[in-house]
Amino acid sequence: MKLPLGWLAEFVDIGADTAALCEVLTMGGLEVDAVEERSQGLAGVVVGKIVAIEPHPNGDRLQVCRVDAGAGDPLSVVCGAANARRGLRVAFARDGATLPNGARIGTTEVRGVSSAGMLCSEAELGLADQSDGILELPGKAPIGKDVSEYLGARDTIVELSITPNRGDCLSILGLAREVALLTGVRLRTHRPKVKEKGAAAAAEVSVRIDEAGACRRYAARVIRGVAVGASPMWVRLRLEAAGMRSVNNIVDATNYVMLERGQPLHAFDLAKLQQREIVVRRAGSTDAMQTLDGMVRALVSDDLLITTGDEALAIAGVMGGADSEVTDATTDLLLESAWFDPSSVRQTSKRLDLKSEAAYRFERSVDVEGVVDALDAVAALIATLAGGEIAPGVVDCYPGRREAEPITLRPERVSALLGTEIARSEVRRSVKALGAKVEKADGGALAVYPPTFRSDLVREIDLIEEVARVHGYGEIPTRMPVKQIASGEVPLRMQLAQRIRTVLQGLGFSELVGLAFASEQRNQLFPGTNTTGRGTRLLNPIASDEPELRRSLLTSVVAMWRLNRNQGAGAIAGYSIGKVYWHDGESREGWRVAGVLAGQMPTLGLGTRRPPDFGDAKGVLEQVFEELHVVDRISWVTESTLDSFHPGKTACVHIDGRPVGILGALHPEAEVTLDLDGAHWLFEIDLDAVVKLEVPPLRYAGLPRYPSVVRDLALVVDGDFHSGEISRFVCNWNPDLVEDVYLFDEYVGSPIAPGQKSLAYSIAFRAVDRTLTDEEVNGLQEQLMAALEQEYSVKQR
């Protein structure tokens, strides 16, 4: 809402300090967004008077004017305008002036005659798009006065954010009321004076409301014999200052009064009405009409229309119809001022995507009791701007009149909720200052009748808020609640996520956060871990190529990889902890952890750069599971990996035999699709599944008292043999004496036969109750080897 302070000052004294006024408004809940000083870009343009005029000696249509600008002798100015004449007061741009188009005016020579400035047209002053001749100022315009100030073009405009509950503040008058309330000054209002003449309006038109719920009141006036034309400067300047464009004097008058009083108004060309009974009804079978903007609008049966006969005149509260539009030829007007139901207007305006200043105000409710005042005001203004005779009487159809209902306000409730003692007398004073009528109610409570323009005040809590606002939030004490001491708790998922972050951070992975949207193709490529069904669809996606929610965090991870690869990053190690979504008849969502290790290994400093191998990536995940104390329950299997992953370079991650995630490299086809290449590893883990794991509480295990004996065991196996088989077999073979086993070398090549490989394991033997002897360990190793040979086709190397 744009508030020109010059306009506001007509209704309330605001003082000279704009900053102080803005502070008052902001602290009253009317947040100031911006303050604009507006002068139309005019500097050095003053009121001048042509005291003498003579033809230019060398120019056909040029004249030389002697202009009195209020200081010193009259100056010579060359002017080509036909309407320049002696005695005329003009807008004189002196030497050094600037115009809105940025032009600087100087003293120049025009065909041999010196010209000390320029006499300006409306267009040159930025007041009109085009104009004939120079601007003629009234004879009483004070010579030497700044033109922008004289015209009222210089003003301060305060831009406010009006919250949706305060429809009453969408007008100059409404804001003046707030200023009066918040600063304690008096509000100056006046009832519009209407001079009526001719036959009564009621003799010419009547109004019928079929939908009293949707239109509580509809008032109309008739004006005969208007002259449609341009509005005077002051009207145009004010409309512009408030953010509206001038159309003609009739439309401008309706907009002017709407801006001033908050009541949307509409003028119909009376002559174009087929019948003289105005009916407010639902559209029913009327399925379309052409609106003022020339568009044909499809209607639904619930839309509220202003009609006459079978003709739709307007979509109530949203926009007028083209058929009854006021044109230059219009002479007689029907003026409308009405109350339309906020939600009905909102539904129609939303469906038609037709936003207007009128609809905006109706949606936030207008003052049903202010309807006729506004109608009188616009009639009076039209008579001033466009002439014509106002027909006597208002045709006022008001089926929605309601008995005022009091709100019970308990002063002790005010104090109890605000946490500070506010006297009954202050509570009473505060609500009276809002314009409410206050009576006594039972039990010391107050019966409050809010003013009709405050339709937002319907409950006791609404009044308590107003008391707090008038009292000042700053005056309410600041203190800590008295309560039992209890510390806050953090859910296990968040705790585990934080531990995972800590591990991954230490291993060089940076956290990324991606938007949750995905294309159908990405969701097909990465259908997720432990998700079912299909991708969840958005009805109004931000981007049409991402109409779904991501099923997998890999969508975000891969985008991050590509972006940073394109930026030339060496090591790309990133992960995300976030939500994924799927739809299996119901909308589902779950937490996942996903990451990428690509480019080079994340290390800085001297030394060789090498690409990450599978072991690097697997080690990262193993460390994450180590931190979560579940690493011993993990297994890595090659079955049932995703199509988008390389079948020979990908593992499913199982915990306790159940799938929880994936680790691997992209299928070469997917690399092409994604425009990605080079060594890389991607992983995704179902965090929800990990959170659900039962992890026994940590218990200290006694330190071993006897030494261990470590032996190496080298085996020759088939090339595609899974080394983990041996590790698991050895661990389970004799858990009492085999403490640990790990693969420390893998070798392919001579002298190992082609198609085979050598695996070297380090095995630690230890007994809890004695020191194992060499002989014992030798015996164990032989038995173990025999068992391995029996279980697998392996040979000791």
Binding site: G28, R346, Q347, A468, K483, G488, S510, A516, T536
Partner: protein, 340 residues
Amino acid sequence: MKEDLENIRAAALRDLETAETESAIEEIRVRYLGRKGELTAVLRGMGKVSPEERPAMGALVNRIKQEVEGGIGTSLDRARAAERSRRVASERIDVTVPGRRPQLGRIHPLTQITNELVGVFVGLGFSVAEGPEVEDDYHNFEALNFPADHPARDMQDTLFVEGGRVMRTHTSPVQIRVMEERKPPLQVIATGATYRHDSDATHSPMFHQIEGFMVDQGITFADLKGVLTRAVRELFAADCPVRLRPSFFPFTEPSAELDIGCFACGAAGGACRMCKGTGWIEVLGSGMIDPNVFEAVGYDPEQVSGFAFGIGVERIAMLKYEIDDIRLFFGNDLRFLEQF
């Protein structure tokens, strides 16, 4: 013979005095004390000594042997010390070569700010709750006193999901879900992603909020001021000015925006870009929970009261790190992420 021994002793000690390296000393040890060494040779001649003289001669041999061994020890110590000095004098590294740094990952700035906010409120006794991001209209709007067809819904341009659902436009539905399940007293915060149909330099379609509320008997607006003032002072500065001003949220009444004194200009305003010259920066929205919300969850608003607040995580991060484009948070450029 005694004379021979004395000569050996003198020669050995003399040799040791000049020996500089461990290997030279080892040679001396072999020469005098080794199996074929000179002292050993003398000992072999003990047979020729008369039995009376033998004990004295034996003692002498042992003494000399000990003396030579002592000399060897001393020389070895000296030689090793000299060797250490030589090493320390010759070994030089370039201490200016870059450290071989295992790369340290970064925690996303939004997570860092979230953790900080959560820490502050958990410290004040708030527990953390979570809720779904794909919400139903009832929890996201209706129960929070956003009637259908009310302009208040325009404040939150909504992303709609199939099946009549919405992407939650704020974390406030968690309030409803917690209150539906539990009874007061409650002190809860909820964190997470939220969504609006909005995208430019200051609006991201996905952003993050921290929502908090406290419900009990006798909770007042003064308590709201107390808790939130404490929290923002922990977040920004212990002495930062705080003010509340009236605002509007459908689910609270009275509602308030909380501003802190601008830290860029010291609340002076003027030409400051951070606060647009007002001297104040808006950091959160808050208010007393609306009676309609209590009624929606089956609480009696005459019996309990409470306050709620919501903080935009991106906004706090942008203020703190002076980030001017919200999209940077979701672009995931490592050159951005590695600054935090």
